[in-house]
Amino acid sequence: MDLRLQGIGHQYGSMEIMQDINLDIPAGKIVCIVGPSGCGKSTLLRIIGGLEKATSGRVIQIGEPPSESINPLTYIFQDFALLPWRTVEGNISLVLEDHGIRGSKANAIITDVLARTKLTDFRKAYPKQLSGGMKQRVAISRALAVKPAVMLMDEPLSALDSQTRELLMDDLINLWTREPFTAVYVTHNLNEAVRLGHSIVVLSRRPGKIREVVDIATPLADRKLGDVELERQQEHLWNLMREEAVEADKELIDV
């Protein structure tokens, strides 16, 4: 299942957040969206998954999601969004219960996703007992449990420290290598973008427009820390964004 954004524009009142965004999200690829703060990248992600209505344009689903997919468009949030009153297991079963999956069937899915995210020992733990990295792992396994056709990731690693971020990036790459998934990955961290993105969409400052789409051919599994080619790409992205970021920064002061 592919997604296509057609002429997406959005306004809050009279303020134009983004303008005429056209983008294809092909199945099995990770598309990263980067841009200066306030360019509407998180808003765009909410529009893609139907959590917000765009003022103009539409998001089109091309083809049917796989039949085993329980929740085709599934988010992973920056703040993890785990229910503090449910255990790890309970947080995952929450999203299965509503789709009529209970008992041994749910149990099998939970066991499987926890194993894939190395959380098997934490099944009965409460979120408050877990570190930030572990909480995000729980959120990732919850997303995997509903077998999404497209994962919509809203700065999933931004709330974590840099070591944990490296570890989780490796985990995401491993997950993708074992079983390629489709994802839209919003971040302000260019390093994450060049490590995880098959293509990287650079948005301009408000009103957000697509400035450039950079494709990176290196397979995800071969992208190592300190790779020269990646460094070059990252620098290119930063040059694209630097001006925008400076201007965006000033804009906030003007308001």
């Binding site: 998954g49 959590l51 599934t74 949030f77 229910l83 509503d98």
Partner: protein, 269 residues
Amino acid sequence: MSNSNHVTTEKTIDFRGGGFAPKSKKWLGFVVFFFILAFIEIGTRVGFISNLTLPRPSDVFTTFLELWESGLLWEHLIPSLTRLFVGASIGSSLGICVGILIGLFSLARGSLVPVIAAIFPIPKIALLPLFVIWFGIDETSKYALIAFGTFTPTVVATYGAVDNVDRSLIRMGQSFSLSWFSIVTKIVLPGAMPGILSGLRISLAIAIILLVAAEMLGAEYGIGAYILEAGSLYNLERLFTGVAILSILGVSVSATIGMVENRLLDWRT
């Protein structure tokens, strides 16, 4: 620093953090009670507190024992507890329902919030004669008074608690296509529970106050009637026995809510 023949001095940095984190020490409360009672006891025995000012705690205790042994304690306590239970249950459960409606629907919020704001400050005791006209002088008017008195604070606490539920959790529920009903029962209600329970603490204290007020009018039995009778006879021992029973009732209610909180909210730190 600029001094040419400076001597380097060493000094431990003074600690200036800490504090602002009160912990509850359970035994301390008992110690304070003990000292207050001991002070009054000694004062009344020695004579610097006259017997007209305060009764002796030991006499109050004897009166309590007499009440207990004569079986009158239960005759007063059971109707009171029934009134408290029925009235507070009706009032707080209706209050929680209305509070949730206000928390969830714009229509309910727009129409009911001003109404609640208008009835909240009315001293419910002042309405007792009205309730007697509406519901008669028997139990129903007492239930109604207590229910009405617990209703408004519960509503206000509940919709405040619903408003404070983390919106990102609700958005998460929607993003996983949970049904509206599931979002309310599995995310909104548990998330609002801490606020609802702390609102209940206040509502139930108000219920005890109103219980006494209701029993002062046309009740033969009940703690309130007992206190009223003792008061009109200027029997201070009995008066204080009644007051002590009310205090114990208040402490037990508060402890019960504390236990419910510990059970339901053990997920909090």
